[in-house]
């Protein structure tokens, strides 16, 4: 329990740091980007909306600590201002309509990569020097060396443009409305395939090698020898004895890589014009839409922190040593 409370305090602190960073950036950056943004957008806004944005970006003449308090209060009550590029939609609404796609893409890719990568790692470590152990790692490391977005471009070009097997942009066919029907789901799945595939390809090598190396250390333990001496079946030793103990670092890595996947999905989304928050973030950057940019950053951070917290709770369940200390 103490462990959980400590972690929770840590995540709250991390979130506070990102809020503060968000607060400070527009106020202390050279070149005054916010004024540029206002010059561009002011003519289409209502006076009270301008006032709200001025507060958000510190253009009102109040002392800084007052501004800070208002800012934190606004963030926790979900008032992140209105989007400028998608005026007059509030930032929270823009993000709400898109975060689902990012979670779908990132989540699918992450789960697939973790499951396959770890399985490959377990098998490779079990048969040291076997085909899996000697052929796969170099190939996967090579594939993993490609930038996410470049692999996405290549896949898009090859399977989307040249071969025409998969759709090349957006999350479902144009003209469709989201509904609970088979045709809609299959459309979503075909659109998801290529982006998810590229993320899986790039990240799977890391999982495999990480698992392989922990597995190798685990198989040298005495209890594995003991299990062998007892005459247990190979599969039982491999999965119930060795892999189960070697899983722990992977569980921690799962939480960390959630942030990495959301970040990586950002570039993949841009290439495939996939309507997630990453794609929106770029649109916001190009449209000098600072409220939306900051809102997306905070949302992604919050999602990552929550994911890590969940992983911590699972970890307590999995590793009794954490409960004791």
């Amino acid at each position: 329990m103490r462990f959980i409370v400590r972690r929770l305090a840590f995540y709250l602190l991390a979130f506070w740091v990102s809020i503060t960073l968000n607060f400070l950036l527009p106020r202390f950056m050279p070149g005054d980007p916010v004024t540029r943004m206002f010059a561009q957008a002011a003519n289409k806004m209502q006076p009270h909306q301008i006032e709200q944005l001025r507060q958000l970006f510190g253009l009102d003449e109040r002392p800084i600590w007052q501004q800070y308090l208002t800012y934190v209060h606004n963030i926790f009550t979900g008032q992140m201002g209105v989007s400028i590029s998608r005026f007059p939609t509030p930032v929270s609404e823009v993000i709400g309509s898109q975060i689902g796609w990012t979670l779908l893409l990132g989540g699918t890719a992450l789960v697939i990569a973790v499951v396959i990568g770890n399985l490959l790692g377990i098998l490779a470590a079990w048969r040291r020097g076997g085909v899996l152990d000697s052929v796969f790692p170099p190939i996967l490391v090579f594939v993993g060396s490609f930038p996410y977005f470049w692999l996405a471009m290549a896949a898009l070009y090859l399977f989307g443009v040249v071969l025409g097997w998969f759709p090349i942009r957006h999350a479902f066919d144009a003209g469709m409305t989201p509904e609970l029907s088979w045709t809609f789901f299959s459309s979503v799945a075909t659109h998801l395939f290529l982006p998810a595939l590229t993320i899986v390809l790039v990240s799977i090598g890391g999982w495999m090698l990480g698992m392989r190396n922990t597995m190798i250390a685990t198989t040298a333990e005495d209890y594995i020898l003991m299990a062998e001496a007892k005459g247990l079946t190979n599969n039982r030793i491999m999965f119930r004895y060795a892999a189960r103990n070697a899983m722990l670092p992977s569980v921690t890595a799962f939480g960390m890589s959630f942030g990495f996947i959301v970040g990586g999905a950002l570039l993949t989304e841009v290439v495939f014009a996939y309507p997630g928050v990453g794609y929106q973030l770029l649109a916001a950057v190009q449209g000098l839409d600072y409220p939306l940019m900051q809102g997306i950053f905070l949302t992604i951070t919050a999602a990552v922190l929550v994911a890590n917290f969940i992983v911590d709770i699972v970890y307590v369940r999995l590793d009794p040593r954490v409960r004791v200390s």
Binding site: F10, Y11, L13, A14, V17, S18, L25, P26, M29, P30, G31, P33, W126, R127, R128, G129, D133, S134, P138, V141, F142, G144, S145, F146, P147, Y148, F149, W150, M153, A154, L156, Y157, V161, V162, N213, I216, A217, A220, E228, N234, M256, G259, F260, V262, G263, G264, L266, L267, V270, L281, L282, V285, Y290, M293, F297, I300, T301, V304, L305, N308
Partner: protein, 313 residues
């Protein structure tokens, strides 16, 4: 890979004659360097890096003039005259790729070195001083590790004035934390060794203990952290520039990809406009990763593939 080499590296590390045994006890680091040189992965990686370094240095000779200038008919596939074809604007892709290597490698190595240095200072200070300083530095490190890197990169780059300098600064800010964590845990284990305690007791100056006693004993992990940071630097730079957050007028692999994508190379079938730069990034990253694995293998004998292989059939 590396099925035959481990026995060589082991042989290299052992003294050649029994009579020289006392002298050879003090040669472990010599063995490390020779072990790395004798490793096939390392040799491959170093070779690839060398080729890229030479091309980058010689780019003004190999492809004289400004590579951004329009010198040919637009969107030509590779031919004898333009080995890598031309872009949608009519620039020579080969020249762009060779000149791109200059900035991309430079930024990658600068970011790698700076991020490792910051990580090293934080990590070693954290391990040496312990207590409050360790708690504080570890806290900062962990917060930076947790905040998602790419979105942070994007908003930092969006607020700062565009340019190569911004890209470097932003990448260092987001890249140091990972190395700090690795280096701290390594420094922590060395901190608990007796010779460090002895140095503390003899009243050596903390800076001297950190850099003359602790640091040399973690050379290999500093090296692999540095390589990982360079990989991060090159990849993240390309990502930022691909998003249009760098300086689009400077020729790098990232801006090449940005322009290729902006000019619709994917949809007009101009694969030659985006394949070379991406392949170069991948090759450099792969070569660095290979050197990194070689360092790991030489310093951690457990990871070497045993010749006998299957202990369990």
């Amino acid at each position: 890979m590396s099925v035959t080499n481990p026995s060589d590296t082991v042989a290299l590390a052992t003294p050649d004659a029994p009579t020289s045994a006392p002298a050879s006890i003090r040669r472990p680091r010599h063995g490390l360097i020779r072990g790395i040189l004798g490793n096939r992965k390392a040799a491959f990686g170093a070779g690839v890096l060398l080729v890229f370094a030479v091309v980058a240095l010689a780019a003004p000779l190999l492809a004289p003039g400004n590579p951004s200038l329009i010198t040919a008919i637009a969107s030509q596939p590779p031919s004898a005259e333009h080995l890598f074809g031309t872009t949608a604007k009519g620039q020579d892709v080969l020249a762009l790729t060779m000149h791109g290597a200059r900035t991309s490698l430079l930024v990658g190595f600068v970011v790698g070195a700076a991020a490792t240095l910051v990580g090293l200072l934080v990590g070693v200070a954290s391990a040496y001083f312990g207590r409050v300083i360790d708690d504080l530095l570890s806290l900062v490190t962990n917060v930076f590790l947790l905040i998602p890197g790419l979105p942070l990169l994007v908003i930092l780059a969006a607020f700062l004035p565009p340019g190569i300098g911004t890209v470097v600064v932003v990448l260092i800010i987001t890249g140091w934390a990972g190395s700090a964590r690795v280096l701290r845990s390594q420094a922590l284990s060395i901190r608990s060794k007796d010779f460090v305690a002895a140095a503390v007791v003899t009243g050596e100056n903390p800076l001297r203990i950190m850099f003359r006693e602790i640091l040399p004993n973690m050379a290999s992990i500093v090296m692999s952290t540095f390589l990982a940071c360079v990989i991060f630097g090159i990849g993240a730079q390309a990502g930022l520039e691909f998003l249009g957050l760098g300086d689009a007028s400077v020729v790098t692999w990232g801006t090449n990809l940005y322009w290729a994508s902006n000019d619709g190379a994917l949809f007009t079938g101009a694969w030659w406009a985006f394949v070379p730069s991406g392949l170069c990034i991948a090759l450099v990253a792969f070569a660095l990763a290979m050197v990194n694995y070689a360092v790991d293998e030489v310093t951690n004998p457990r990871l070497r593939t045993k010749k006998k292989g299957r202990t369990r059939a």
